[in-house]
Amino acid sequence: MTEIVATNQTILVVGGGISGMTAALEAAECGKQVVLVEKEASLGGRVSQLYRYFPKLCHPTCGLEINLRRLKSNPRIRVLTLAEVTGLTGKAGDYTATVRVSPRYVNENCTACGACGEAVSSEVANTFNYSLNKTKAAYLPHAMAFPQRYVLDPSIIGTPEADKAKAACKYDAVDLTMQEETLSLKVGAVVWATGWKPYDANRIQPYGYDRFANVITSVEFERLADPHGPTGGKLLRPSDGKEAKNIAFIQCAGSRDENHLRHCSRICCMASLKQTNYVREKGGEDARSTVYYIDIRAIDRFEDFYQKVLADPQVKFVKSKVAKIVEDAKTGDVVLHGVDTEGYHRYANAHDLCVLAVGMEPSVKGMDIPAEIIADSSGFLEINSATAGVFGAGCATNALDVNRAVQGATAAALRAIQVVNRVARAEG
């Protein structure tokens, strides 16, 4: 049974992405006790699945490394992975949270030596790579996974595969008897940082994501570009593994669209502008990018990044919401049909690969979240629940870039501290 010390001066942070980690670290580095709950098997969230950040084109894993070092050296944070908050009752300064912890089947003895991974033969979809490839059913979620501990996929439990994994482990880290646990924590304040999910591209029918192999999403494109990704960092298109040299980016794929997401997801324009840099970085001088857009939203300081890309002769901009995509059955190329609205020019452009800049949907949408937590009609949390001690942070509250998400998370940490400090003063 997992032992956790928590009081009504403890801060519960839900979500171990960059927002949740930030909120947890800022509070803990201010001397507060924190319990950090993450539903995946390791921390890091969506940013750890990005190859580079805009506008600096630096690597998210760099920041993750720093945050992990802060975390490792901080005794005040208790991390629970494979855990989800299923209930929250009480009031500010006096909450009881119910946390469901799913079995990992690997305990803290794990040294990440990899023996179990070698032992098992069955494979499962590699969700870290958005299922673009497979991984062993005993796996380390990714190279920077924290906790640095393997996971057994539930699908092999009760099969000989699981026994192979257990047999291979010298450190008696594989525990096939692990059961789901439900914990009940006493906490004073809660930071809800459950982040976002990419909008389901299947639902954008005219673009045929469900029908055409070479139509992929922007998050999948990040994995293609990443050395840790399924193609080792090469931009190989799914249909035939051919290197993609002529790539289309479709903006507002799901965003700004009343058939899909009403809101603008804010980051997609910059993300695509950034990804045109990948195309150049990987494909060299003869690589081409075409960005199909409605408005380029390179907001505030990012404008100069846009201007740089605009000046790049290898990148073309077309002010148009693409009407539909047709697949050229012979070549596997995708042909984009539409009208360039600046002066009305009709086009039917063939590309090797088409990247849909999919919108941000708050993760809580469609999830059953504790009644304490108020979401607007788009599923975004109300930033500051006036009297309550529950505060949204990061992309759970709005469509934000990393920088703004972290600002919000830092702010949320203070709001939580205000609550527990009140409790502390009251208790003297």
Partner: protein
């Protein structure tokens, strides 16, 4: 802690170490050469039993220094966590067996590698002390907020609600800043349909009601000295009198100024009274609302029937004449202002001329709401605004209808969406005279820091005092001082309030850290701090100049004065010091120097070169680890030492290495240049510079310049880093072993 030092080395046999290496020999090395007081081997050092063994030794044997010879310092940190002793890690898993083939011919060199890492960790421990903490801690728990606008007020209220007292300094006669001049603000909550009240007066009242917020109006900061926890701030008031405040940390919320619209004569400024900027319209709207009248055009007071909003006026300008950036809020602001007219009288024609409409997030709902209210949005580029008596003619290129000569005539009012110019004080990176003279106007310092490195916060771009880092928006270069609001980057009220709350969080954290003498991010919690043997100092000033955080001042005798509270423990000063008088208790010229010397360098006939690799612990070292995790092999002749930052690399390490017969030295640090990755700002750049200087030394020693090489490495370079190592090893074999061996 026990008086006399007792060093113990623990050698793990798990993860294949036992199979691949002769751990008994490692133990022997630790004993004989490492001279440790206690050596133990264990089958699985990180399991409960192994950890208990170590704890027991600490408790019962009085062990004060622990060498864990097992996996990388990045692994198993929960298990190997002994805060009460000095701890060092010998990395023989990721560092040795995972990067070497399991073959007979490789066995010898692999063992030598491991032996060396044992020697190194023992040597490191010898020179290490458990940091005792900073005696120079400051204990003020008061927050200084500079600027009484929405950002500043938000910060003050947030701090007081968290139980901290606040001193709020506002240069004008009242609180509220720009927001106080607004008629309304854009909506912050669903349904994002209509403008809402600014809420400024409520905030002003809340501040008045807060007992622990002391407000200085018509006041400025005359001087700021000291460090987090012990800032001394003198505040100049109208009367000319200055008062001193003891301050723990500072939030700078000095906001923005309007872009000088008089530079926009093409857009009718100057030629027509009916051309105003957004602030100008707010004034008109406020007046009209107060008088409960329609908004009137300035020229003759006739009610406005036709208004045009020109977006990006003097913004997003690639030509270099005007502001290069976008101010982010202006599209929503024009939408809001168009609603001032439409909500009052739907018959008024309102047109917004834009190139890219930028209404992120729920702003899209606000945009739709404006369209529903029949605000017309036209994608176009305005070329000229002509004054035509009491009206104007707006000429533009209609980009949708592809009409170069489109125009709107009989416009009663033209509103220019001009940008925000940060109010960030002196640009300390400009030479003094330039810094003082910007567009003829004397630039007034805001904080008047008595820091050796300048009066105000360093600026990032275009005068904004933002953080350079995406993951760390509050990674300030002046510890304990945090900027927020439009002084940091262009923003609207919602963002400013969020930002101010975040900055306040960091300021409060700085107060808490200062009280305990702890370092702030990125080495959060580090209790070590630079110590100087002042008697050895030659007053060369390199440390004071090169400190990225302005932590070091100079006293009247020009000796360095270290302000630990400002220090981020990067060691740049240590790397800079030519006489090596600066060190940390757990990281010093010796902790690294002795490791280098501890390595067993075979003679020139052995054909076994030795290469020293100094790797930045943030990007290069993790990359090495992850390469090892993927079992990517690399040369057995390399000995890697993680460093806090390449900036902390003292050239003595390199020359010592070469003198003691190493055949080459590799330095791996972060990207430098405009998009630098170094979290200590200039570390890798400095190292580069210092190594370029080392060439002369090499010549004196009669060595080839290739013997020292620096690389920019990213944390994702898991394939590249081993490649660099192997290429370099090959290069060394090519130029031959060092002639310096055996001296």
């Amino acid at each position: 802690m026990a008086e006399e030092k007792k060093v113990a080395a623990y050698i793990c046999q798990g993860c294949g170490i036992g199979e691949r290496l002769d751990t008994a020999n490692l133990a022997k090395v630790a004993q004989k050469e490492g001279r440790v007081n206690l050596v133990r081997e264990h089958a699985i050092l990180c399991n409960a039993e192994g950890v208990k063994m170590i704890r027991d030794d600490i408790a019962n044997e009085g062990v004060t220094h622990v060498a864990v010879v097992a996996c990388s310092r990045r692994a198993k940190t929960e298990a190997f966590n002994f805060p009460e002793v000095a701890l060092a890690r010998g990395n023989i898993r990721e560092g040795v067996i995972w990067v070497r083939p399991d073959t007979d011919e490789a066995r010898e060199t692999t063992q030598e590698m491991a032996d060396d890492y044992v020697r190194m960790v023992c040597a490191e421990l010898k020179a290490m002390k458990l940091p005792a903490g900073n005696p120079d801690a400051g204990h003020s728990r008061t927050l200084l907020v500079v600027g009484g606008g929405v950002s500043g007020m938000t910060s003050a209220l947030a701090a007081s609600q968290a139980g901290y007292s606040v001193v709020l300094v506002e240069k004008t006669g009242q609180l509220g800043g720009w927001a106080a001049n607004l008629h309304k603000r854009m909506p912050s909550h669903e349904p994002f349909k209509d403008p809402q009240d600014t809420g400024v007066s409520e905030m002003v009242q809340a501040i008045a009601a807060a007992p622990d917020i002391k407000v200085y109006l018509n006041a400025t900061v005359a001087q700021t000295s000291g460090a987090p926890g012990r800032f001394k701030v003198s505040i100049a008031t109208e009367s000319g009198a200055t008062t001193e405040e003891d301050i723990g940390a500072i939030v700078q919320a000095t906001g923005f100024n309007l872009y000088d619209a008089s530079k926009l004569s093409d857009l009718g400024v100057g030629s027509s009274a009916n051309v105003v900027d957004q602030a100008g319209l707010e004034k008109l709207a406020k007046a009209a609302a107060a008088a409960n009248e329609p908004i009137r055009r300035p020229s003759d007071g006739a009610p406005v029937k036709n208004v045009v909003f020109v977006q990006c006026a003097g913004q997003r300008d690639a030509s270099g004449t005007h502001l290069p950036y976008c101010s982010g809020h202006c599209c929503n602001t024009s939408i809001k202002q168009a609603m001032y007219f439409k909500d009052a009288n739907p018959e008024i024609d309102t047109t917004v001329i834009f190139t890219d409409l930028r209404t992120p997030g729920n702003g899209e709902d606000f945009y739709r709401s404006a369209q529903r209210k029949e605000v017309t949005f036209t994608k176009g580029r305005v070329s000229r605004v002509e004054a035509t008596g009491n009206t104007c003619k707006v000429n533009f290129h209609d980009l949708i209808l592809d009409d170069q000569n489109a125009s709107i005539a009989d416009v009663d009012l033209v509103v220019l969406a001009t940008g925000q110019v940060p109010n960030s004080g002196v640009n300390i990176d400009l030479p003094a005279e330039e810094g003082a003279e910007e567009e003829g106007k004397k630039v007034v310092s805001i904080l008047n820091l008595s820091y050796r490195q300048g009066k105000d916060l360093p600026q990032l771009k275009w005068g904004f005092t933002d953080s350079h880092f995406i993951c760390f928006p509050y990674e300030t270069r002046r510890t304990g001082i945090y900027a927020c609001g439009p002084v940091r980057r262009p923003m609207d009220i919602v963002q400013a309030m969020e930002d101010a709350t975040g900055a306040t969080m960091k300021a409060i954290q700085a107060i808490e850290n200062a009280a305990l003498g702890r370092a702030a991010h990125p080495r959060a919690g580090d209790l070590s701090f630079p110590r100087v043997r002042i008697e050895g100092c030659t007053q060369c000033k390199r440390c004071t100049v090169e400190c990225p955080f302005g932590a070091i001042d100079e006293d009247e005798k020009r000796y360095p004065v270290f302000n630990e509270g400002r220090c981020r423990r990067c060691g740049t000063c240590m790397g800079a010091c030519p006489v090596r008088v600066i060190s940390f208790e757990n990281y010093s010229v010796d902790t690294v120097g002795l490791q280098i010397k501890a390595v067993d360098v075979p003679d020139e006939f052995s054909e076994k070169p030795r290469i020293l690799l100094l790797a930045c612990e943030n990007d290069a070292y993790p990359a090495l680890d992850m390469a090892a995790l993927n079992r990517i092999q690399s040369s057995a002749f390399v000995r890697a030492i993680p460093v806090r930052c390449l900036g902390s690399v003292n050239t003595i390490w390199v020359t010592d290495a070469l003198n003691s017969g190493y055949d080459g030295v590799m330095l791996m640090g972060c990207k430098h240049g405009d998009d630098y990755q170094c979290h200590f700002v200039k570390g890798s750049e400095l190292a580069n510079y210092r190594m370029s200087k080392i060439d002369d030394t090499l010549k004196q020693l009669g060595l080839e310049p290739e013997r020292v090489a620096t690389y920019e490495v990213a944390i994702t370079d898991i394939e590249r880093v081993p490649q660099l190592i192997n290429d370099y090893a090959a290069k060394i074999e090519e130029i031959g072993l060092s002639p310096m061996k055996g001296f």
